[in-house]
Amino acid sequence: MTEPAARADAPAVSAAGERRALTVEVNGERHAREVEPRLLLSDFLRHELGLTGTHVGCEHGVCGACTVLFDGEAVRSCLMLAVQADGHAVETVEGLAPGPDELHPIQEAFREAHGLQCGFCTPGFLMTIVPFLREHPDPSDDEIRRALSGNLCRCTGYQNIVAAVRRAAERLREAG
């Protein structure tokens, strides 16, 4: 941990806060923006792109509500800078459902198994589960719980979320 930098003494190599251009693919669509380097990826998705499905809970990497896929892997978007996504692909909960009247099999399983109550944590859970089920098509309850360990839910007590993942795994296996 560093002490706050002595800004007056800092050499003027490049101006702090200078905006930078980035091009990022989000849910298959390319977006080009100029942003401050300190803008978090979570805020970029929500405020620059209007994709407010990615929720911000703790904003320091504990709650998992802001989980998105970064080049296919689940990451916490509040622990990344938007500029780091330049040239990369991000997937958010908005990209899951195949159409406006249809749900993704994992979303469908959450609905059926009552895997959510208030729904605040749900996008983070969903985006955690997508790559998990890709790698573990037939997971044990233990594996499911370990995979979900980085996502907090204050409503459900997790039982129905675990049940929803089991059901989602079945649905995805059936769908092949």
């Binding site: 941990m1 401050e36 990497g61 916490r76 370990r146």
Partner: protein, 294 residues
């Protein structure tokens, strides 16, 4: 909960990254996985004037087998990748056992081996493992490179041997001695939380079935990883049995570790945990050593 403004540089090579660090004269921080740095910046506990992002430095992102059974890990190797890498499981099973304890899957997908070492959180697993495995760390600075033993790298709470213009480039793990047993155990209130106490143990048996050598390194019970020298020395030459493990555990827990209490665990409770974990870790390591010898 938002970072203060900073200048951002995306380095493309080690040379460029080191040059940028030097240019900023100690006011820049290296951004690797960012899983510790970004929250610390969001809390405004750190307000670096500049960040040198090394995520685009491909030459730092590798795992390679080295001669004789060792392993070389690039500083930018992600913890999740190491966790899934069969070469790590085979050549550094102690490290493989510890990786699933590092935070959560989303954090491990992003967090890097070098970042965890350079951050030097005494509650983190990687620094403890680097010391336990006698890792050698290659540091690159503007004047060239040097190699530092992990034991000499950690200077205290978030403090390391790294100069402000140096970059940790590579972690070299020496070959695992044939037949050596190992164990990693920790206690955390919830899986993925920072551990209250953790221990990495290595144990080798001689031809007669006695303990030839042992190594015990602790996390979260001091300002840096703590090596229990006296406990390890007490084990040498002894028969691997419960009473011997218990005696060594008492030495480590009562005399060698330096835990401080927090809201979740008093110092006394941490000593108790260390004692129980040490006994179990030694028994597990001895069983593995015996199994390999058989």
């Amino acid at each position: 909960m938002k970072p203060a403004p900073f200048a951002y540089h995306a380095a493309r090579s080690v040379e460029e990254a080191v040059g940028l660090l030097a240019e900023h004269g100690g006011e820049a921080k290296v951004l690797a996985g960012g899983q510790s740095l970004i929250p610390v910046m969001s809390f405004r506990l750190a307000q670096p004037a500049a960040l040198v992002d090394v995520n685009g430095v491909g030459e730092l992102d590798f795992v390679a087998e080295t001669a004789g059974g060792g392993l070389s890990i690039g500083a930018l190797a992600r913890l999740g990748g190491l966790e899934r890498d069969p070469r790590v499981a085979e050549r550094a099973p102690l490290l493989a056992a510890a990786l699933p304890h590092v935070a959560h899957p989303q954090i491990r997908n992003r967090g890097t081996a070098g970042g965890s070492l350079a951050h030097a959180d005494p509650a983190a697993e990687l620094p403890c493992l680097a010391v336990a495995l006698d890792a050698r760390l290659r540091l690159v600075g503007p004047a060239g490179e040097r190699t530092v033993a992990a034991r000499d790298f950690f200077h205290g709470l978030f403090a390391t041997a790294l100069a402000p213009d140096e970059l940790l480039a590579e972690i070299e793990l020496p070959p695992r001695p044939a037949g050596e047993g190992w164990s990693f155990l920790e206690v955390a209130r919830r899986h993925g939380d920072y551990a209250q106490v953790g221990v990495a143990a290595r144990l080798a048996l001689d031809g007669g079935g006695r303990i030839a050598s042992a190594r015990l390194v602790y996390l979260s019970v001091g300002d840096a990883p703590i090596v229990a020298e006296r406990a390890a020395a007490a084990l040498a030459g002894e028969t691997p049995e419960d009473a011997v493990f218990e005696a060594a555990a008492a030495v480590a827990a009562d005399e060698e570790i330096e835990p401080s209490g927090d809201i979740h665990a008093s110092a006394d409770f941490k000593r108790h945990l260390a004692r129980v974990l040490t006994r179990r870790a030694l028994a597990e390591a001895a069983a593995r050593a015996g199994a390999e010898a058989a």
